[in-house]
């Protein structure tokens, strides 16, 4: 086996894992950060779900470490190439040397046979017997010179190899460190995003007594048994009805809203989930919705609209924070919250939490991330903010909506959306931020096509600069990718790869030094200090 083959064998345990990045090699072998950004953009455009649960291998500090590793890998690969070139030469030298030695030995044997018995030729030295050897048909001068030169070349080559090997050893040490950092930056057990507020907020009505007369009226109507079924027992329903009474709704109000939901086709499970949701606001507005806002909301929502909202809510009711979203819908009736509900419904299997709360900078509870996506192995769930923007302002003078002015739109972006992205980044350090825009509005407003394009470009530019990935939905489409900040995690080191690298270094050392630790020439040769004079 040639020295080259041996080297390749020893390097394989270290080279083979790196073969896991073949698709990224071209990208990460450049110095520019933009290459990884471009890669993410391609990935997310092909598969928008990757933007919602961002693979840590291609984003964040893991990606940065891959790039750094890639740079070191490139250097190592280059040094190895050079090493292999030199090793090839050494192999050739070794072969030439072996051939030369073989020839000389053969010539010596022949010469020895011919010279046997002659006293003057009993001792053979390289210098003295060259002429005799030459008479055996071998060209001694050129060959000896060639041999000496070969020895010198060999020494130089081996010295070069030694230096290269030491460089490679350093490279591999760096790579080893890189890979340890890489392993350390992976998310070991990604859980839900941080939620600084520890104490849930209790609504004020919780401690109020139940109006027994109202309760009697409700019991007469039998809703506790009529609505029981599926995940909800009669007792569950009874408790919900009692709490609705505590909240301040009358038996008549409750009867009306239940009947209304039934009339539009909602099933019992959906109705009970919705009623329970009305009681579940433990967020920033614990005393909301009020009875007045609930009855008003039901007055304003009939037919298919009501059915869709109730059905969508019921489907997401099990997600932590769903009740907070329902509270926002009932209390504000804002389009944006309906879009948020619809989006969550469509992505419900990927959602971990809704409507987070966090302290503001005065220490009071405030609204934080709209939708927190689930994290999974090697993927961090994004903090998603949904927006349904028509870029319109109501004008009381004309009693119509007018388009926002350019300044109003640009100010909305720079003075509201960008600071919101930065706040989310600071609250949810290390997690990707994604802004999802209602595509029906994105593609239609403002009505002026040129202005619409300008605002779209400005939105994408400013939000991605701030660090958010920009999407529209439905269907999910990524329009721009933001940079993910550095996560801070503490996974244990990956033992296997560094160990293999260490073995590789040892192996290289053995190949070069024959186990002695000191570079050696082919056995039996002492390099001359100078070449013999030309004859």
């Amino acid at each position: 086996m040639s020295a080259l083959d041996t080297l390749i064998n020893w390097l394989a345990p270290f080279l083979d894992p790196m073969n896991g990045f073949p698709n990224y090699a071209d990208e990460i072998n450049t110095i520019h950060n933009g290459s990884l950004q471009k890669f993410r953009e391609q990935q997310y455009k092909l598969d928008p779900n990757q933007a919602l649960q961002q693979n840590v291998i291609i984003s964040g500090s893991f990606a940065n470490n891959i790039q750094m590793t890639g740079d070191d890998f490139t250097k190592t690969a280059a040094d190895l190439s050079e090493f292999i070139n030199e090793a090839n030469k050494l192999a050739e030298v070794s072969e030439d040397f072996a051939e030369a030695v073989g020839k000389i030995m053969a010539a010596l044997e022949e010469a020895g046979a011919q010279l046997e018995g002659e006293e003057a030729l009993t001792e053979i030295t390289a210098d003295v017997d060259i002429a005799a050897v030459a008479e055996g048909g071998f060209n001694p001068i050129a060959d000896v010179l060639g041999l000496i030169l070969t020895i010198v070349d060999g020494a130089l080559l081996i010295n070069t190899l030694k230096n290269l090997a030491q460089e490679i050893q350093t490279d591999i040490k760096h790579l080893q460190q890189d890979l340890a950092v890489l392993a350390n930056s992976a998310v070991p057990d990604p859980g839900p995003a941080p939620q600084p507020i520890q104490d849930p907020r209790t609504p004020g009505w919780m401690n109020k007594p139940v109006d027994q007369a109202q309760l009697q009226e409700l019991n007469t109507l039998g809703w506790d048994t009529k609505l029981a079924g599926g995940p909800y027992t009669g007792q569950d329903v009874q408790a919900i009805l009692e709490n609705l009474l505590r909240m301040g709704l009358s038996a008549s109000d409750i009867n009306t809203i239940i009947t209304q939901m039934q009339a539009v086709g909602c099933n019992n499970e959906q109705i009970v989930a919705f009623l329970k949701g009305l009681l579940s606001s433990d967020g920033a507005y614990p005393n909301s919705p009020t009875p007045q806002s609930i009855t008003k909301w039901f007055n304003d929502h009939k037919g298919k609209s009501l059915y869709n909202i109730v059905a969508q809510y019921a489907a997401i009711a099990g997600i932590q924070g769903a009740g907070r979203l329902l509270e926002r819908i009932i209390a504000t009736n804002n389009t944006g919250y309906y879009y948020e509900l619809k989006w969550i419904y469509e992505h419900r299997d990927m959602v971990a939490r809704i409507e987070d709360i966090a302290p503001n900078r005065l220490g009071n509870p405030s609204q934080a991330g709209d939708v927190i996506m689930k994290s999974k192995q090697y993927a961090l769930g994004a903090v998603v903010d949904t927006k349904s923007l028509a870029w319109m302002v109501y004008d009381k003078e004309t009693e119509k909506y007018r388009p926002m002015t350019e300044q109003e739109m640009l100010s909305f972006i720079s003075d509201k959306l960008v600071p919101q992205v930065k706040r989310d980044e600071s609250l949810y350090r290390g997690y990707p931020i994604v802004y999802v825009f209602d595509s029906s509005k994105w593609n239609s407003y403002p009505a002026d096509a040129a202005l619409r394009k300008q605002i779209q470009q400005e939105l994408i530019k400013q939000l991605t600069t701030a660090g958010a990935t920009v999407m529209t939905s439905p269907p999910d489409q990524v329009l721009g990718v933001g940079q993910t900040p550095q996560p801070t995690t503490s996974a244990g080191p990956n033992e296997t790869l560094p160990q293999m690298l260490e073995n590789g270094v040892d192996g290289l050392r053995k190949v070069l030094t024959g186990g002695s630790g000191t570079p050696q020439l082919p056995p039996g040769q002492i390099p001359p200090l100078e070449l013999p004079p030309a004859s």
């Binding site: 600084p196 907020r201 920033a284 507005y285 614990p286 005393n287 009020t290 298919k304 609209s305 869709n308 909202i309 504000t332 009736n333 804002n334 389009t335 944006g336 309906y338 619809k342 966090a358 302290p359 503001n360 900078r361 005065l362 220490g363 009071n364 509870p365 405030s366 609204q367 349904s388 923007l389 028509a390 319109m392 302002v393 109501y394 004008d395 009381k396 003078e397 909506y401 002015t405 350019e406 300044q407 109003e408 640009l410 100010s411 720079s414 003075d415 509201k416 960008v418 600071p419 919101q420 930065k422 706040r423 980044e425 600071s426 609250l427 029906s440 600069t465 701030a466």
Partner: protein, 250 residues
């Protein structure tokens, strides 16, 4: 709720790109413990280390670019770094645009500060008013009002022509507008907060901001001033918004 927007109509459009005016404003804000940053710099949140009240180098550079005319807009994030929570003011954003609509906005994230209990929200609002007054007294704009997405209609031309038809949730009338409306009328109209300002302007907050059941309604105050109430500033886009003939998505 979407952000609260306060619009400051400066006296001249030249002031929007006036170094002295902007720096004067910066000095006032720094004295109020504000740290002024570029909008892409990291945000301060509740557990952030308190950084000094300065104009950051990034913002200084952006200011120079804006004053030199290399950029159209200057957007600023202001974080209050008062170590005393009892007196710390609200964080806000603002932007200057020389070729804009003739005002500069100060924007406060309502879902950050105006949430929860009524008294908490009102306390936050009153702190905000203190800052707004200081900014007013620094720049002496013609008019300041709280913008409403649900209506009211005023623009720079109307301000210059003193055609102020709507009363907003927050108003500061400069001396010229005070004279136009009538000082006595302003001083006697029902209001939750009213204050004579040093330059002859008047701060006028008609109704208890964020109260579920205000004692004084904006309607009553508007009527007393011969104005109409502007739309509810806490309402953003309602689901009734749709083009004529278009069915609701829901």
């Amino acid at each position: 709720m979407e952000n609260m927007w306060l619009r400051f109509y400066l006296r001249t459009v030249e002031e929007f790109r006036d170094r002295e005016a902007i720096q004067r404003l910066f000095v006032v804000l720094l004295s109020l413990h504000y740290r002024l940053q570029g909008i892409y710099e990291p945000a301060l949140v509740w557990d952030s280390r308190l950084l000094p009240a300065v104009v950051t180098p990034v913002l200084q550079h952006e200011l120079e670019e804006y004053l030199a005319g290399h950029t159209r807009r200057l957007a600023i994030s202001a974080y209050n770094v008062d170590p005393d929570l009892a007196t710390r003011n609200l964080d806000f954003s603002m932007s200057f645009q020389a070729d804009g609509d003739g005002y500069f906005p100060i924007s406060i994230a309502t879902d950050e500060y105006f949430v929860g209990d009524e008294d908490v929200m009102q306390d936050a609002y009153l702190r905000l008013l203190e800052m707004v007054k200081k900014v007013y007294l620094c720049l002496h704009p013609l008019y300041v009002h709280e913008f409403s997405w649900q209506g009211g209609g005023v623009d720079r031309a109307k301000v210059l022509n003193k055609e102020i038809r709507y009363l907003y949730g927050t108003n500061i009338f400069g001396p010229e507008l005070v004279e136009w409306i009538g000082r006595e009328r302003l001083l006697h109209a029902p209001a939750w907060r009213r204050e004579d300002l040093d330059d002859g302007g008047i701060l006028f907050v008609p109704s208890e901001r964020f109260a579920q059941q205000p004692l004084i309604t904006i309607d009553a105050a508007a009527q007393a001033l011969g104005m109409e109430p502007a739309g509810d500033p806490d309402v953003f886009f309602v689901d009734e918004y749709e083009e004529e003939g278009e069915e609701s998505e829901e």
